[in-house]
Amino acid sequence: MAAVAVALGPGFGEDQEQLEQLIHVEWRVAWLRLAFVVGLAGIIFGLVDLAHPKYRPDLVVVTIVAACSHAAVQVLWLFRGHRHAYLRAYIGVSFDFITVTMAMYATGGYQSELYLLLYPLLVSVAMRFGLRAVMVSAFLCAGMYLGAAWLHGDPLERSKDVVVLRILVMLVTAALAGGFHRELARRLGVLIQTRKMRDDFLMVASHELKTPLVAIRGISQVLDRVMREGSTERALLQRVDASIDRMQRLIRDLTDAARVDAGTLTLERDTVDLVALARTAVDEARLGNPRREIKFRSNEEILRVDADAQRLSQVFANLLTNAIKFTTPDKGPIVLELRREGAVALATVRDKGLGIPSDSLPVIFEKHGRSTKTPAMGFAGLGLGLYITRAIVLAHGGGISVESREGEGSAFTVRLPLLPEPRVAAVPIDATATE
């Protein structure tokens, strides 16, 4: 007579990695609490629904796998033979279909607030057509659509059995929801622990690797200070310093890549002038490569972005270093060019060097994803530079792209969202608005 079905969404039962991707660390505890509260609200909603004097329950039910199973339910209703019930159910189910579909899409990110707004709204509209719908929302857990249970009332029938069954179903779904809740809490506990261990290891590893460099660098510089200008020893010391620089960059790249993997690359944002920052990057590249011609061009005086200056410098340093590394000195200058395009700043590093073979282009931003020709040519490096560069740019809400032809050179373009212009205030309101 009455059927009960519980739909499980695609989220549950996925492996840890996927869970990890889906769950935003800071929000997970909050979402668990929220999901629990919403689940309770769903049950109370159902109880109130039952107590309603005009309520005439007959239970049919719903969903097998997420929203698509609604189609099957519609067919089920069709074969029950109640014309009015069919019509009403059809409308009600359609509303539910919209609700759940939107919930699924909405919670693909972490925006279940949307779902929370939509659910009462759409269900109340559905109820206007004489249908009662209950959805136990605890299946929506930690920002993921896990699944849902629906109960639909047929206004043409009244049956005690159905009332009992309905309560039973609610209890079962509540228990199920509790099970999900516990399982998720357990998995999240494991995740939190794993992530913490990894973060701790990163902190310690980077600290331990950098610490010996303090003494090497410090002593070499103290020696440099006391040695005669132009002496051989001093020239040798400069080589020590250059090697420390290289070591430091390698350690930084290793720890940065691990941070990118762990999703813990954090930015120290501030208002930064991209023009000044890029100019400094070019100056530093010139200093490190005195025999190379490196040009700086900008149509703009100032390009203000909300960014981590140190990280952005790293982006330009990486791109310039690559350009220098893959261009022989006779192939003309390397150019860093800045321009504005609407609300976006564009920075292009262009060289006329070796270029990247077309089959390597798709992988160069991946970890160790160098050009197929690189290893054979014996270029040093870990192959992490562009991987980190891309991650930094993405973290800033920007993008990076490359145009290259083998033998003709490459052009890497970084796009970053600009901060709104600080307008000269004509009216005081403007001044506060741009603050």
């Binding site: 600290h207 303090v214 660098r217 410090g218 510089q221 006391v226």
Partner: protein
């Protein structure tokens, strides 16, 4: 130029500690050092340094904890503190804690001197 400025350095890594002492002495500072976080308060009260360099990661107590202790005593509360760390992300935390500066490992001699000078100048402007 007046009397030598005094710097107290607390770092549990002995080579780092000795190097910092050397670097600061070469740059014309008077230096006191200790490898133990627990000595920070005693040495600060005893010598009244112009600036304290604190390593962030130490086995007994981290740099933040030591700076909290130093802040609670009126004698040492006003001494500017520079944190030495291997991570540039410490800067955010430092911003909210009246830290005069952050030195990221490994640093150049010029950076060290600049940081110490900025810390001491900042303190004299504030008082």
């Amino acid at each position: 130029m007046g009397p030598k400025k005094g710097v107290l350095v607390i770092d549990d890594d002995l080579p780092t500690l000795e190097t910092l002492e050397l670097m600061l002495q070469v740059s014309g500072y008077q230096v006191w050092t200790s490898g133990y976080a627990r000595d920070a308060m005693r040495l600060a009260q005893q010598h009244r340094p112009d600036v304290i360099l604190l390593d962030l990661m130490m086995p007994e107590a981290d740099g933040f904890k030591v700076q909290e202790q130093l802040r609670t005593h009126p004698e040492t509360a006003g001494i500017p503190i520079v944190l030495i760390s291997a991570h540039h992300t410490v800067r955010t935390a430092a911003k909210s804690m009246r830290i005069a500066g952050v030195l990221e490992k490994p640093f150049h001699l010029d950076e060290l001197v600049k940081c110490v000078e900025q810390a001491t100048n900042g303190a004299s402007e504030a008082t």
